[in-house]
């Protein structure tokens, strides 16, 4: 069996690697290619997804993730239009009689002199692009949304999009169309970020000044992505300004950040370095509480990117991210956790029609805790690492087809828990055995235009997941109360002892009625082999990831979505209505009172079953004008059915919030004064309440109703911010702005948790406590600058 699988994989790899040769050789007769890169004129950054349209032909293409485009047309003269939201359109007339390279630079609208009225040419990408269930966010938009303590956060803005629910206030965890927090693939320059939160989720790992592009796929996930059921959040770092040295930064109440970027030598090489650190802990010594005085609580982030253009056809990128949270109390505890990611990419243009990218990626997450108890130092470490090689091709044979294919292999290395007493490691210790896995993915997809109105996107992804030794695998007896271990098997180092494989078809159809409206539908299957041991609603830094294997099957999902997209008012107002139905299989939950940490037999606490999610999403977005922003409404339902949880009856998940409204509005009083607001409303989250009580040995015990049988009060909150920009003058390099913000502006005490507690002094007394976050009328002030 293993030999057969190996042979199969080898032949598939061979087939894939021979495709470029086929592609280069196959040039349909009579077609000539115009290709190149589309970039920002001010910074030299690639413009991902910028469109190229051929006037009179009603045909075109869009730039890939590196800003590369390729169009093959018959010999003739054409007028090409290059467009990107927020940039001035560029028109070029070309005489196409031989293959040509045409690199285009687009000028941002905001750098136009104020007297020029923007004529309002907006791409109708929302309508015409053959992709649905996707949200693209511009950094400008993200930065305008009012934020807690003025710390603008990509993940908090993501939570305001239709189909996305925040799992609990303040956390970075989010649920997409009923999926779990473990079902989101978060990528930073292609590297997986396993824990995207800082300070328990009040902040995310993304430093906005270093981020260029954010895309969230909620469904219709392209075949080049795999590994998670519900969503892909693809975050791309800036490449670094290759025109001039520039600095961006901000000083806030609790953190400051600084980004430096610029060319190295000439325009061929550029760099970006960005740092951020919080300093809330600097105020701790001023506090009266003695334990607070000794506390340490801060995080930092560091982003680094270097890119070098070797020649017209070859380009190298190196990006690195590292960030860490450090907290503890002097003489008592010391803890840290953080991510490290690194991506080395080589863009190679094989021909005018074939673009390739080879990536070598490393992604790590680890935590370490040390605490003093009873005079001994307890140490607890956990870490995981991914090493990935990935090869992707884009082939543009003609304007009607765009083919993507590629292959990726990842080696996963898990060290879930190594706990011991310092200096006495040999004596006492808890170790959850290390384990390893290989994950391979192969994909091919095509985006095909049929006639002028219909575009079909079809793709297939093949995933192979292999557990490799050394490993200790327990065999459990299902049905026994605690899934008792009945056998233990040891596997030697390097031995592949278990393999899962599966096909993930993806299909999307777009029918464009006219420039303003279209109908889209998609169906996709996704498979997830990496699982998160977390049963809290927010996700905590101590959560560990573990692979599918002999005991745990991969999660699978089938999603169907359909939507109608319509633009109004010269495309300045985008609207959409989408509906989805998602059925998930082998989803993971945990038995009552599960022990997920420091438990070598943790897999015995896992229970699996099915989940069903469906919903309707309405979205209206106004891109420009003095008043801009969006309104979204989501109506949704998600339930899980798992044999040994809730007596096998369906139960709502903690992020099942049927009604969800988000209103994000910005009003520009003038170029220098902008008022921004957002209002969030969601049905109260499901919660389990007691329906009975008893006392054993002086301690109050609770008897609970059905899982998540109650709901907390509905959640709503208004945030405001006012941005005051300094005067811009051509002779003045320094540009500054003040941002004043108010989180929870009408001071609602939203339920964060409801607890039933025994009064320690009077056992006969039970009190019901509402816990809410202290962020009530919470002000923030930030000064941002660039020069």
């Amino acid at each position: 069996m293993i030999l057969k699988t190996k042979l199969f994989i080898t032949s598939l790899c061979f087939l894939f690697l021979s495709l470029p040769a086929f592609a280069v050789g196959d040039s349909p007769a009579g077609l000539i290619t115009v290709s190149g890169y589309i970039k920002d004129a001010a910074s030299g950054e690639s413009l991902i997804g910028a469109t190229v349209s051929v006037k009179d032909l009603n045909s075109g293409t869009s730039a890939n993730q590196y800003g590369f485009y390729s169009l093959s047309l018959k010999q003739a003269n054409y007028q090409l239009e290059f467009r990107y939201l927020g940039y001035q359109t560029v028109r070029k007339t070309i005489e196409l009689n031989k293959n040509i390279t045409l690199n285009i630079e687009l000028t941002p609208e905001e750098s136009q002199i104020e007297e020029v009225v923007i004529t309002g040419e907006h791409p109708e990408a929302n309508v015409k692009e053959p992709e649905m269930s996707i949200s693209k966010l511009e950094m400008k938009t993200i930065k305008q949304v009012p934020a807690l303590m003025g710390e603008v956060d990509v993940l908090k803005v993501i939570q305001m999009l239709p189909g996305v629910q925040a799992t609990a206030e303040g956390t970075s965890g989010f649920s997409v169309r009923g999926g779990g927090i473990d079902q989101n693939l978060i990528l930073l320059d292609e590297a997986t970020v396993y824990n995207a939160s800082h300070m328990m989720g009040f902040f995310s790992v993304f430093n906005n000044d270093a981020v260029r592009d954010v895309k969230l796929y909620k469904g219709d996930i392209p075949a080049n992505y795999g590994g998670r059921l519900s969503s892909v959040l693809d975050v791309r770092m800036k490449e670094g300004n290759n025109k001039k040295f520039a600095a961006t930064g901000g000083i806030g109440l609790i953190s400051s950040r600084l980004t430096l970027e610029g060319p190295i030598g000439n325009e061929k090489t550029s760099f970006l370095i960005a740092g951020r650190r919080t300093y809330a802990d600097l105020f701790f010594p001023l506090m009266t509480d003695s334990s607070a005085k000794k506390s340490k609580l801060f995080f930092y982030d560091l982003n680094l990117k270097v890119n070098h253009q070797i020649n017209e056809r070859n380009r190298l990128f190196l990006s690195v991210y590292t960030g860490r949270d450090l907290f503890g109390q002097k003489g008592s505890s010391d803890a840290g956790f953080g991510n490290l990611t690194g991506t080395l990419r080589w863009n190679h243009q094989i021909s005018n029609k074939v673009f390739s990218n080879l990536s070598a990626i490393i992604a790590k997450y680890d935590y370490s805790l040390k605490m003093k108890q009873g005079g001994s130092n307890y140490v607890w470490n956990s870490n995981m690492s991914d090493y990935t090689l990935k090869l992707d091709f884009n082939y543009f044979p003609n304007p009607q087809n765009e083919i993507k294919y590629g292959i990726a292999t990842t080696f996963h290395d898990f060290d879930p828990c190594d706990a011991y007493i310092e200096g006495e490691k040999s004596k006492l210790g808890t170790q959850v055995a290390k384990n390893y896995a290989l994950e391979h993915g192969l994909y091919i997809s095509n985006e095909q235009k049929i006639g002028e109105k219909l575009t079909i996107k079809y793709g297939l992804r093949y995933t192979i997941f292999q557990n490799i030794g050394s490993a200790t695998i327990y065999t459990y007896a299902p049905g026994t109360p605690n899934y008792r271990v009945i056998d233990t098997t040891y596997y030697a180092s390097g031995k592949i002892f278990h393999t899962y494989h599966g096909l993930e078809p993806r299909l999307g159809v777009t029918y464009t009625f006219n420039e303003q409206s279209s109908l889209k539908a998609s169906i996709s299957r996704t498979i997830q082999n990496m699982q998160l041991a977390s049963n809290s609603s927010g996700g905590m830094p101590l959560d560990v990831w573990f692979p599918s294997g002999p005991n745990i099957k991969p999660q699978k999902a089938n999603q169907f979505a359909a939507g109608y997209f319509r633009d109004f008012a010269n495309n300045t107002i985008e609207t959409s209505i989408e509906t989805y139905y998602k059925q998930m299989y082998d989803v993971i939950d945990f038995k009552d009172n599960a022990q997920l940490l420091m438990n070598p037999r943790m897999e015995g606490d896992i229970r699996t079953g099915t989940a069903k999610a469906y919903g309707l999403e309405l979205f209206v977005k106004k891109n420009d004008g003095k008043l801009n922003g969006w309104i979204s409404y989501t109506l949704s339902k998600v339930t899980r059915t798992i044999a040994e949880i809730n007596n096998g009856n369906p139960y709502p998940t903690t992020y099942d919030k049927p009604h969800n409204i988000n209103v994000v509005l910005n009003y520009e009083f003038s170029k220098r004064v902008i008022l921004s607001s957002n209002w969030v409303y969601a049905t109260g989250a499901p919660i389990t309440f007691p329906v009975g009580s008893f006392v054993i040995n002086n301690t109050y015990g609770k008897y609970y109703s059905a899982r998540n049988g109650y709901r907390m009060r509905d959640y709503h909150r208004l945030d405001l911010s006012l941005t005051l920009k300094g005067k811009e003058r051509p002779d003045k390099k320094w540009q500054g702005e003040w941002v004043f913000s108010m989180y929870n502006a009408y001071g609602r005490h939203n339920d964060w948790m409801i607890n039933f507690v025994q009064d320690p002094k009077n056992i006969e007394k039970i009190v019901v406590e509402r816990w809410y976050l202290p962020f009530v009328f919470f002000p923030g002030i930030t000064y941002n600058f660039k020069f």
Binding site: S291, L369, G374, L428, N593, T688, S693, V695, T699, I754
Partner: protein, 291 residues
């Protein structure tokens, strides 16, 4: 090694609570469903020669508005397969049933609790409840050391370190109780200290810290001449899960850290009609005089 897990999480929560400190308010008007009444059982049989005890009561409403209703006149027996011990209700403490004073459990035997002549659901049909527990073996405590040092932060005190041999033969579970001058300090479930032998199966507990006596607590501060007694209980996995779930249910839930609220497991059958625990255990004691 559960010791770390049980103690480190509250410390983490504490650290985090610096961010989210002090924001609670009491909810007075919560509306909760009620559920059908169930039998509450608390029963033990130990290796001590003593009056073994079983307490019976009825589950109350979630907010404990009404006083606990004890269950009287039940027929209660504990059997080891060959001998059956009858329990009689204490006339001063209604709902509490005792064996004769000379009863003790034997390691390796499985004990069965039987409760008859109770009608919890009020349908005038008498119900029957049963539970089983193995009495696990335990090795003696060789010695107990008291080590004075800085416990954590500003708090000084005595670490109670234990020396004993784990019996091995698979997973073992322990409950530790501490007495100072014969006064029980761990008098409630939430004060219990529990551990398993994960990582040291069949090995020696070579000065394993099982409890910290804090100098700043009046009942824990030691003076020369004080006697500290460690009671080590060899318990079943059922009882261990019961205590660990009970403790985690006792503390408030925090969205970031806590899993969903869930019922504390019970070994009383039928499980849908009862809560609580019946358990057998071995006890070993060792005292040390603080000089």
């Amino acid at each position: 090694m559960k010791y770390i897990r049980i103690h480190i999480i509250p410390i983490l929560v504490f650290t985090i609570s610096i961010i989210a400190v002090g924001c609670t308010e009491i909810i007075d008007n919560i509306s909760l469903d009620t559920t059908r009444p169930r039998l509450v059982v608390e029963g033990y049989i130990s290796t001590d020669v003593t009056r073994q005890m079983v307490k019976l009561s009825k589950m109350g409403d979630a907010l404990k508005k009404d006083p606990i209703q004890v269950i009287s006149n039940a027929e209660v027996t504990i059997s080891d397969g060959s001998t059956t011990f009858g329990l009689t209700e204490d006339q001063l403490q209604k709902g509490t049933y005792y064996t004769a004073p000379d009863v003790f459990g034997v390691p390796g035997r499985t004990y069965t609790l039987q409760i008859k002549n109770v009608d919890i659901n009020g349908d005038n049909v008498m119900e029957e409840y049963t539970a089983q527990s193995l009495l696990k073996r335990l090795n003696p405590i060789d010695s107990v050391h008291l080590i004075y040092n800085n416990l954590y932060r500003d708090t000084n005190g005595w670490s109670v370190n234990l020396f004993s041999m784990d019996p091995g033969q698979g997973r073992n579970f322990y409950l530790i109780k501490i007495l100072r001058n014969n006064q029980l300090l761990t008098d409630s479930v939430f004060k219990y200290s529990i551990t398993d032998n994960n990582g040291f199966e069949g090995k020696y507990f070579d000065g394993y810290p099982v409890y910290s006596l804090r100098e700043d607590r009046k009942d824990e501060k030691l003076s020369p001449g004080d006697t500290v007694t460690v009671e080590m209980y060899g318990i079943t996995e059922d009882y261990y899960s019961f205590i660990s779930s009970y403790i985690s249910d006792y503390y408030p839930k925090v969205p970031i850290f806590s899993g969903p609220s869930a019922n504390i497991p019970t070994n009383i059958k039928p499980v849908d009609d009862a809560v609580g625990i019946f358990t057998a255990y071995s006890i070993e004691r060792k005292s040390v005089i603080y000089k």
